[in-house]
């Protein structure tokens, strides 16, 4: 359910009294209705589902989440070994290093 993707608001406009925007999804541009995220301004990121922004993306929170992941395995620099171990336990081939 609910394929929703983050994109950057690159152009704002009004259409029939509705707040619309052009949103850039990594090079794919789509018209999006911003009526549900009145606080969003140009350059900010929104989460878009079927042509509607359903939430503003909290960029600080995204960075914080990634930073937390980084810290998770500080003692385990060799992630590759662990990934391989997980793969072996699951009975699949080791990830190939090309």
């Amino acid at each position: 359910m609910c394929l929703a993707v983050p994109g950057k608001v690159v152009r704002l406009r009004e259409e029939d009294g509705t707040r619309m925007a052009e949103v850039d999804f990594g090079g794919a541009l789509k018209d999006v209705c911003l009526q549900y995220v009145p606080e969003v301004s140009l350059g900010e990121y929104v989460i878009v589902h079927v042509g509607f922004a359903i939430q503003k993306l909290d960029e600080a929170s995204a960075r914080e989440t990634l930073a937390n992941f980084e810290e998770l395995g500080l003692l385990e620099e060799e992630f590759g070994d662990q990934l391989a171990q997980a793969a072996r336990q699951a009975g699949v081939e080791e990830p190939r290093q090309r």
């Binding site: 359910m1 609910c2 394929l3 993707v5 994109g7 052009e22 999804f25 990594g26 090079g27 794919a28 541009l29 789509k30 589902h49 079927v50 990934l83 391989a84 793969a87 699951a90 699949v92 081939e93 080791e94 990830p95 190939r96 090309r98």
Partner: protein, 368 residues
Amino acid sequence: MTQEARDHTDLVAVPHPSAAVDPAAWTCPAPLRDSPTIVMGHGAGGAMSAELVQHLFLPGYGDAATPDLGDSAVCTVGGRRLAFTTDSFVVRPTFFPGGNIGDLAVNGTVNDLAMSGARPLFLSTAFILEEGTPLEELNAVARTMGEAAGRAGVQLVTGDTKVVDSGHGDGIYVNTAGVGLLDENVHIGPDRARPGDVVLLSGEIGLHGIAVMSSREGIEFGTTVESDTAALDSLVQHMRATGADLRVLRDPTRGGLAASINEIAVASGVGIEITERDLPVPEAVSSACGLLGLDPMFVANEGKLVAIVPAEEAEQVLAAMREHPRGEKAAVVGECVADHPGAMVSRTGLGATRVVDLPVGEQLPRIC
């Protein structure tokens, strides 16, 4: 419940203990495959297309059918081996970023010939036109075809034009058939892959499908992606010049890389493993796929080829591909294995594996 009686709490559905369901008993509606009429999926190059050939055309043709598994049939005439192929083009819209139906019709047939290792020589062009189609459009298509044929070094030697009533066609449909000549020593076919062979891809995938989709009514979006439509015969000749054994060549058009790899795996009776992180997928394609919920492996290409070669010759062929303008971004993307014959397996970015099946029908944007 009346409108007046509603309040905020009505909107938030509360848990209801009497509604017990058992996840173990769940079922899911699988798509219908057995239609008594033609549906769009029959023309999408996936499982439904294959079933139509297997269960309708071949039995219908009976003894007259001697189908070749490749993109072209190879026939022997007077001691010479001819490659022969045909393809119809019904792309909508007629004009799309990076090309139009004319380039596609010429390049597509040239490529089908080239994938057998043949030198493409002659093409026929047949048009089915809808009443009311502007001559200006047809003229643009014709010019494009002339130019594409010139680049590919083929001659357009015969043709036909039919017109159907307004509303009974969709502007311009084009069929091209082509013949080419094969050298004595060329033996390329989808059934020749062997365990241990290496899978090469000539460049970035997904460009054509995304370019067409971006201009398709109902799902249009802005993108810099352009169709990769191009003739590949000169790339093939360049690869052949290495002297390496090109066992299989295939251009992954409809159904994308996944359809081609599945077809090769079945025809050769080998398993094929693709490593996802080695696949050249342009960011704009990957983004558009993310937006629409598509997998780039299933998206059409019109100027790429898959080559399967013995492991010991892979480096040499790869180097040759990269020297050619149509193969600058060529890469090793997988290998053939003895296990799971007939199946395509993909190694995901996380190092796990998944089976990649032949697409059933058309690729559709999804919401879930």
